[in-house]
Symmetry: C2
Subunit: 226 residues, 2 copies
């Protein structure tokens, strides 16, 4: 019985409509910068490259459209969304508030196990930062924030913050790569961990908000105001 159940579960988990496979591929390609902002996404071309028909491509594009990663131009098709300075500002303004909310809830709900995981990830982050391993820095930074989000038990909050992160992910890769000094980031993470450990939610909120604001400043500096 447990085996059947597991098989069933595996089957359910493994089933992914082709449209979602396409959706995930395109999304990742856009986030990694394999498609430039403004670049056209042509159905036939994508269909041929991915070996599928136009139908799943079109459906994937509908989802990317709502996700904000592509914009539709009537009767011309989809192109990768440009990000203006204002978009960046708007996104980070909302994100700062929601990250603050997340740590506030985390102060109340985070378990000891989660806190330990956060400490561990933060240590990996520190090592990556000291070793200037940018890939790891990005990876552990995402992991760090993910632990905080998961501890809120608020699926809607998690979904929205992830979408907001996604929208500026392309920049993050660029500016993190250019950035030499991760010391500020390390210190900010340390402070946030401490605030959560002491369940000091007002402090944690302030720190989280400042953390995102600093990120905005960094992006501006390193990207050169776009």
């Amino acid at each position: 019985m447990p085996m059947n159940q597991r098989d069933l579960k595996v089957n359910i988990n493994e089933y992914l409509p082709l449209r979602d496979v396409v959706f995930n591929s395109l999304r990742e390609a856009i986030l990694k910068g394999e498609f430039q902002p403004g670049e056209r996404l042509m159905e036939k071309q994508l269909a041929e490259k991915m070996g599928v028909s136009r139908t799943p491509i079109r459906e994937a594009i509908r989802k990317l459209e709502l996700e904000g990663l592509v914009v539709m131009i009537p009767r011309k098709g989809a192109e990768v969304a440009q990000i203006t300075e204002k978009d960046l500002k708007d996104v980070l303004e909302v994100r700062a508030t929601l990250e603050a909310l997340a740590v506030k809830i985390a102060c109340q709900k985070m378990t000891e196990e989660e806190l330990q995981a956060l400490v561990d990830v933060n240590e990996l982050f520190r090592q990556a930062a000291n070793g200037h391993d940018t890939d790891q820095v990005i990876h552990q930074d995402v992991a760090f924030h993910d632990i905080i989000f998961q501890s809120t038990r608020n699926d809607k909050l998690i979904q929205i913050i992830n979408n907001l992160r996604e929208q500026i992910y392309r920049f993050r890769v660029e500016y993190i790569t250019k950035m030499e000094d991760f010391q500020t980031l390390v210190e900010e993470h340390d402070d946030i961990v401490d605030a959560i450990r002491h369940r000091n939610n007002t402090l944690a909120q302030t720190l989280a908000e400042r953390h995102i604001e600093n990120q905005e400043k960094s992006v501006r500096t390193y990207i050169g105001l776009l």
Copy 2:
């Protein structure tokens, strides 16, 4: 020349792909409760009813899927999303924070014209509430909050809050209809207007947050914990 330009503009504005017409129709139908939660959305049936082919229907459903209004069941199709008590709680927790952010920004950026418009809408809201005109109460309440959101000049914030409002809109219609006493709502709106007028952003934030929290309590009371 201005006439040509206007004609062109009109044409551009009037063009809506069929998929978007379908998307808007289905969305409105779901929000108005014309489709019950859990009800199946069948492509062929919808296509016949709306006089289009399956293609635009399928694409519209992809967007509804990402919007959270329908859930996909693998190899079975789309059905109208159920809303659990936890969903409601999660959504309102995020909304309370974002409404607070909105009024905070509004305190800084709202123009005198917008403030006047807010006062006017608030007066209409009061009249609707006194006259127990539920349709108008809902309409003016939406208008009231919209003016505040627009004054933030943050398109991302506006988009996210609108999505969050949408998710509980179905309940709003029900509970507002059942609600007899709008006095609390009127007072809360008055207080928020005053706080914005005096550019008191900390007070405004507190009021907005409480306003949404009260809404959560009301929904729970009137819907009976779902």
